[in-house]
Amino acid sequence: MFGYMIKRLIQMVIVLWAVSVLVFVMMSFTGDPTFMMVPLDATDEQIAQARRILGLDESHLVQYWRFLSNIAQGDFGRSFVFRQPAMTLILERLPATLEIVFLAMVMALLVAIPLGVYAGANPKKPASRAVMAGSLIGISLPGFWLGMVLIFVVAVKLQWLPSSGRGPTTEWLGMRVSFTSWEGFRHLILPAITLSVGTLAILMRIIRAEMVEVMKQDYIKFARAKGAPAKVILFKHGLKNALIPLVTVFGLMLGDLIAFATLTETIFAWPGIGKLLVDSIYRGDRPVIVVYLMFVALMFVVVNFIVDVCYALIDPRIKIK
C-alpha cells in the first residue's frame, strides 16, 4: 500500500510537470502580455523596459525555469488586472464554484441512480424508454442554453428565483458560502440545476447500461434461484456491482462539472473560478489562466488518486500492490 502511494505520488508529479510544460508553451504563443502593462501611447523605450520587468527578453528556457522555480516557491505570479497574487484570486473564488459543483453532483446522483437502476432492471417498460429518451435529450442540449431557458421562465417570467449573482454569503469553515441562508440558497438553485443536467443524463445512461449488463449475470439468476425477492436482487446483488464502474467515472464527472461551471457561472454571473477564467481570457490576464489550469490539474490528479483508492476499497477483487 505504501509503495503504491509513492508510485502514484511520482505519477502525479509527472502529470503536473507535463501540464506545466504545456501551459507554458501555450502561453508563449498567446499575445504579448507587455501591452497589458503599458499605456496605449507608450514609447518603444517603455515597452522594452516592461518586457525586461516581465522577463520576456530572455530565452524561453530561462523563462520556463523561472516559471517553474517560482511555482516551486509558491509564487504563481500576479494578476495583471487585479494586481494581486493569482493564487489568492483563485482561492477566494473557489468556494463559490465548489458550492454549485457539489450541489450539482448530489442532485445528479440522487436522480440518476434510482432512474438508472429502474431503467436497467426493466429495459422493456415504457417508463424506462421514457427515462432513456429524457437522458438522450439531456446529453444533446447545450447546458448553458438550458440555463438561459431557466432564467427566462423561472426568473424573468415567474420571478420565483433570482436570475444571477450569488446573494448573501456567510462564513463557514473559513469559506464564504451561500447555502447557509435561505436567500443564498435560492441563488444557488438555478445554477446547480443547469450544471447538473448534463452529468445527470450521462450518469443515468452509465448506470442503466451497467445494470442491464449486471442483470444478465449468472449470479443474478442464482440469487433468483435462491428465492431472493426482487428488492434484494436489485439492490443487494445488482446495484453494488453496477456502481463499481461509477466510481471510476467519478473523476471524469467532477472534471466535466468544473469545466461546464465556466459556462454556468458566466450565465448566472456566479463569482466562481470558472467566471474568473473566462474573464481572464477576455482580458488576457495570463497569470490567472496559468494558475487556474495548474490548480485544476492538481485537483483532478488528487481526485483520481482518491478514486483509485476507493475503488480498491469497494471491489474486493482489486488489491493494491
Binding site: W145, M148, D256, L277
Partner: protein, 305 residues
Amino acid sequence: MVSSQPIPATRARSRMQRFFASEFFHNYKRNLSAVLGSLIVLGFLVMVTIGPLIVSQNPYDVSQLDLMAAFKPPAWLAGGSSEYWLGTDGQGRDVLASIVYGSRISLIIGLVAMGGACLLGTTLGLIAGFYGGRLDAVIMRIADIQLSFPSVLTALFLMSAFGTGLDKVLIALISVGWVVYARTVRGSTLRETQKEYVQAARVSGLPNRKIILRHVLPNVLTPLIVVATIQVGTFVLIEASLSFLGVGVPVTQPSLGLLIKNGFDVLFSGLWWVSIFPGLFIMLLVFGINLLGDFLRDELNPRLK
C-alpha cells in the same frame, strides 16, 4: 442458447438488395428512434444545403436588413409578422434565416473537425499499435494526460491561446478529439496484428505500410463509425460553448452557439426567441445524431447488445 444468425439473403442480386434484406436494415426499420434520428439528421442536411435559397433574406447582407423590423416576436404571437416565422433580432435579422446559416456553420465545423480528428487519431493509433515501443508509449501518455482533462476546458484553453477564428476552432476540436480514435484503433490494431494473416503478411516481407493499409486498417474501422457519429454531435456542442463564451467563431460567421450568445443580452428584456430558438435547433441536431449513434452502437458492437 440460440445464436441469432442473419436471415438468409434471398437470392440477393445487388449490394443494394442485400442491404435491404440484411438484419441490419430489418432492425433499422423496426427501430423507431433510429429512423427518427436519421430523419432529423437528413432534415438538417437538406436545410443547410438548400435552406439559404428558400429563406427570405441573407442575414449577413446588411442591405437586406430592415431595422424597422427589429425585435419582432415569432409569427404566432401578438405583433409577429408572417414574414418572420421565428421573429427577428435587434438588427431586424430573421431568426429562422440566421438559424439556417448558423446550422450550416455548426454542421460544417462538426463534420470537418470529426474528419480531421478521425484521420489524425487513426493514424496515430495505427502507428502506436503496429510499431509499439517508445513511440506507442509517448502517444498513449499524451492521450492519457489529455483524457484526464475535460475536452471543453482543453478547447477553451487552446482557443484562449489561439484567438477566435473558424480555422482555430477546427484545430482546437481536432486536438481534443483525436484521442478516442487513437485509443480505439490502437486496441484493435494490437488485436489484429496478433492474428495469423498479419503475421503471415509480415513474414512474407510485405512492407509495413502496405500491411497496415491493406490488412489492419479495414479491420479496425467498424468501431470508429459509432465514435465518429457521436463525435459530430459532441463537436457541435463544444463549438457552441466556445462561441457562447466568445472565443469560438468570429461574429462574421455566426454559428448556432454565437446566435445564442447574441440573444443572451436581450433575454432579460423578455426577447426570448432570439436565443431560445437557436438552442432548440442545436438540441434537435445533436439529439438526432445521438439517436443514430445509439442505434449504430447497438448494431455494430454486439458485445453491448
